[in-house]
Point group: C2
Chain length 368, copies 2
C-alpha cells in the first residue's frame, strides 16, 4: 500500500515541522529512514515486553540489538520517574551523547516515557514516535505531551517535547488484544465529533471494516486523526484554549477512570465521558437528542460502556473538581453545537456547566 | 539604593520576556513582587541549608514557612535526579498544582535543580530565580539551562526552561566564603573579555571595590553581566552558534575541573581555561601577548590559578576530546581577536585549533 504523510508545524517554532508518515509495513525501514532524517545520530530504542513478544522490535531493528531498553512490566504501572531514570542512565553507561535519537516503539505509555527521557537527556534530544496501538496512533504519538505518574496523580511530571517524526505502521495494531484495540478507537470517534462530521459518517459506515482491522480503513483513520489533532496542536501548542477541545469526553472520563482504580481502560472511560458531554450539550439546549443517540450507537458498536452504573454521583463530582484542568475547583466541559462543531463561549472552548445539569446527566448515565 | 532592571526576550517566543531586577535588599519583597507578577499562583521555595543558616530564607519568607524544600547537603553532591524527585514529590503531597511557581533561592546548584523541577512539574510551571552567589548572579541564573548530574557526567539530565523572572539582590553575596566569592567573579571577567572592553577596564580599575563587595560595584557588574549574557541568549537560545562564545575559557576549564575530581571550583578551572584560550589566540596570531598578560593579571588579582602544574597534557587532551561540546571527538575553542571581540570563522565562534598549538599552550600552562 502506498504511504502517505501529514506534516505538523512545530508550535512556536515556525521554521520547524515534523512529518507523520503513514502506511503498512513501514516498520522495517524506520531505522534507515531516521538515519536519513537525522544523519550521524546514534539510535536508541525504547519499547516494552509486549512489542518484543509480538516480534515488532525484531521487525524494526533485527535480532540482538543492544541499544534498546525494554519496559517490563508493560503498562501504566511502569509509567514512573524511575523508569525514565533507568533509560537515561543506560544511555549514559553506553556513552550516548547529544548526537542521539530515541525511537519510541509502543503504545501511549512507551511514548510518554520515551518522550520524557528524550526531553531531559542532555537537555533534550530528538524522539521519533512509532505508535503501535490504536490509542497511540490516533492520539498520544502526536502533540508533544510526555510524562509519568506520581504516586498521587497521572502525568504529574513531564514536559512538552515534540517528536522529530512519527511513523504510523497500521499493521502493528493487528497484534493488539481486542478490547484495547476497540478502546483505542474511541479517540477517533472523539476527533470526528469535535471536528469533522464527514469523518463521523465514515466511521459509522465502515465500522465493520475498522473492527476487522482492514488496513485501508486504518490508513484513512490515521490520516484523519493526525490531520485533526495536528491542526489543533499547531494552533495552540500549550493548551491555552483551542487545544482544550481535545479534552471532549475527558472531564467525566478522567473522573470515571480514576474512580475505577484504572480498571477501566482510558478509551472505555472516555466513551462514557463522550456520552456525558453529549447529554450535557443536549441539556444546555445546544444539540438534539439525535446527536447523543448517534454517539451511543457508534460507541456501542465498539462494545464500549456508555453508563457508569454503580458509581456515586457525589464521588464523580468531587473527583472532577480535583482534576488538574479544573479552574478554582470548578470542572470545565467541552460541549458541542453539532457533530463536528465544538461550542465556544467568548472564544473559550472549555466552559462552565451548571451543577444541576451535570448532576442530571450523571443520573442519566446511571450513577447513584 | 535604586533598583534597576534588564529585560530578556524569551528566545523563540517573541511575545514573552522576563525581567531581571537588580538591587540591594530586594529579598524581603520578592514574594509580594512575584504575587504581583503571577497573581493567584502558589509559591514553593527551593533553597539549601547554607541560605537557611545565613538567614536569607527567613529574610525572604519569614520564619516557619512550610512550603519550602531545603537541599541538604548543599552543593554539587546533591545535584542529582533524586533531589528533583524529592522536590516535586513534596509539591505533589502538598497538592501544589499547575497554578504554582517555584522560587529558587541559592547558588548555581539550587538554581539548576529548582529550574529542572519547575520544568517537569505538571509539564512545566514558572520558576523565579533569586541567585545568591557571584557565579549564579553573573551567569547561571540567566539563560534557562537547568539540570542535574549523572554518576558519569555533569548536567547529564536537564532541560532548557527560562525563568519567569530573576531577582538579583547584590547584598546576598556578602555571606559567601572568600574563595567562592572570588571564583564566581571569573564569569564576569569572561563576559568582559568576549563582549565589552570597557567593562574589562572597569573591572581592572575597580578590583579593590569589587573584592570589598561594594554594593554599587556589584550592581554595575550585575547589569553588565545580565546585559551581555541576555543579548547572547536572546539571539541564540539553543546554543547553535553565537551562544557558544559563552564557552570562552571552558574547553580547557571543564577538562581541568573534571581531572581535579572537582577539587577546583568551576571559576578556578575557568580561570586557567581563560588564560589557555588567550594563549591559543596568541599562538594563532590573533592577539598580542599583552591580551594574555591583562587576563593573567586580573585573574591573579582575584587569587585565581593560572597554571595547571602537575596535570598531564595527554590527560587534558583526552578529556577535552570527550567533552559533550566536542564534535566528532575534536575539541572546539572560543578564541579572541581582541579583548571584547570573539574570533569567528565563517560565522562560527567555536573553532578548530591545530593540536600542536593546543599542546604548546598546555605546556605553557605548566602541564607535564
Amino acid at each position: 500500500m502506498a504511504h502517505s504523510s501529514v506534516t505538523i508545524r512545530v508550535p512556536g517554532e515556525p521554521e520547524r515541522g515534523y512529518e507523520i508518515r503513514i502506511g503498512s509495513g513501514l516498520l522495517g525501514s524506520v531505522p534507515s529512514d531516521v538515519a536519513e532524517m537525522l544523519p550521524g545520530m546514534r539510535q536508541f530504542v525504547v519499547t516494552d515486553v509486549n512489542l518484543v513478544n509480538h516480534g515488532h522490535l525484531a521487525a524494526m531493528v533485527g535480532e540482538g540489538t543492544e541499544d534498546v531498553y525494554v519496559i517490563d512490566p508493560p503498562g501504566e504501572n511502569s509509567k514512573m520517574l524511575s523508569t525514565v531514570e533507568n533509560i537515561i542512565s543506560e544511555m549514559e553507561q553506553k556513552r550516548f551523547g547529544r548526537d542521539s535519537v530515541i525511537l519510541a516503539l509502543g503504545g501511549g505509555v512507551v511514548g510518554d516515557i520515551a518522550g520524557f527521557a528524550a526531553a531531559i537527556f542532555k537537555r533534550g534530544i530528538p524522539c521519533v514516535q512509532i505508535p503501535a496501538t490504536t490509542v497511540a496512533q490516533a492520539d498520544s504519538a502526536v502533540g508533544g505531551k510526555t510524562g509519568v505518574d506520581s504516586e498521587l496523580s497521572k502525568n504529574a511530571y513531564g514536559t512538552f517535547h515534540h517528536p522529530a517524526a512519527v511513523f504510523i505502521d497500521c499493521s502493528l495494531v493487528k497484534t493488539m488484544d481486542d478490547v484495547s484495540y476497540r478502546a483505542g478507537l474511541v479517540e477517533s470517534v472523539k476527533h470526528a465529533m469535535i471536528a469533522d462530521p464527514e469523518y463521523f459518517r465514515y466511521i459509522e459506515s465502515n465500522i465493520d471494516m475498522i473492527l476487522e482491522r482492514d488496513e485501508a480503513a486504518l490508513h484513512h483513520l490515521a490520516e484523519k486523526n493526525c490531520g485533526i489533532k495536528g491542526r489543533v496542536v499547531e494552533e495552540d501548542p500549550n493548551e491555552k484554549n483551542l487545544r482544550r477541545i481535545l479534552n471532549f469526553g475527558h472531564t467525566i472520563g478522567h473522573a470515571v477512570e480514576s474512580l475505577s482504580g484504572f480498571d477501566l481502560l482510558h478509551g472505555e472511560a472516555v466513551s462514557i465521558g463522550i456520552v456525558g458531554a453529549c447529554r450535557i450539550s443536549q441539556e444546555m439546549g445546544l444539540v438534539s437528542a439525535e446527536v447523543t443517540e448517534c454517539a451511543v450507537e457508534i460507541l456501542q458498536r465498539l462494545d464500549m460502556p456508555v453508563t457508569i452504573t454503580g458509581l456515586k454521583k457525589a464521588s464523580v463530582m468531587e473527583t472532577m473538581k480535583r482534576d488538574k484542568k479544573s479552574i478554582g475547583g470548578v470542572p470545565k466541559f467541552v460541549v458541542l453545537d453539532d457533530i463536528g462543531t465544538v461550542h465556544g463561549v467568548d472564544g473559550q472552548y472549555a466552559v462552565d456547566v451548571p451543577a444541576e445539569i451535570v448532576e442530571k446527566v450523571l443520573s442519566a448515565l446511571d450513577a447513584k
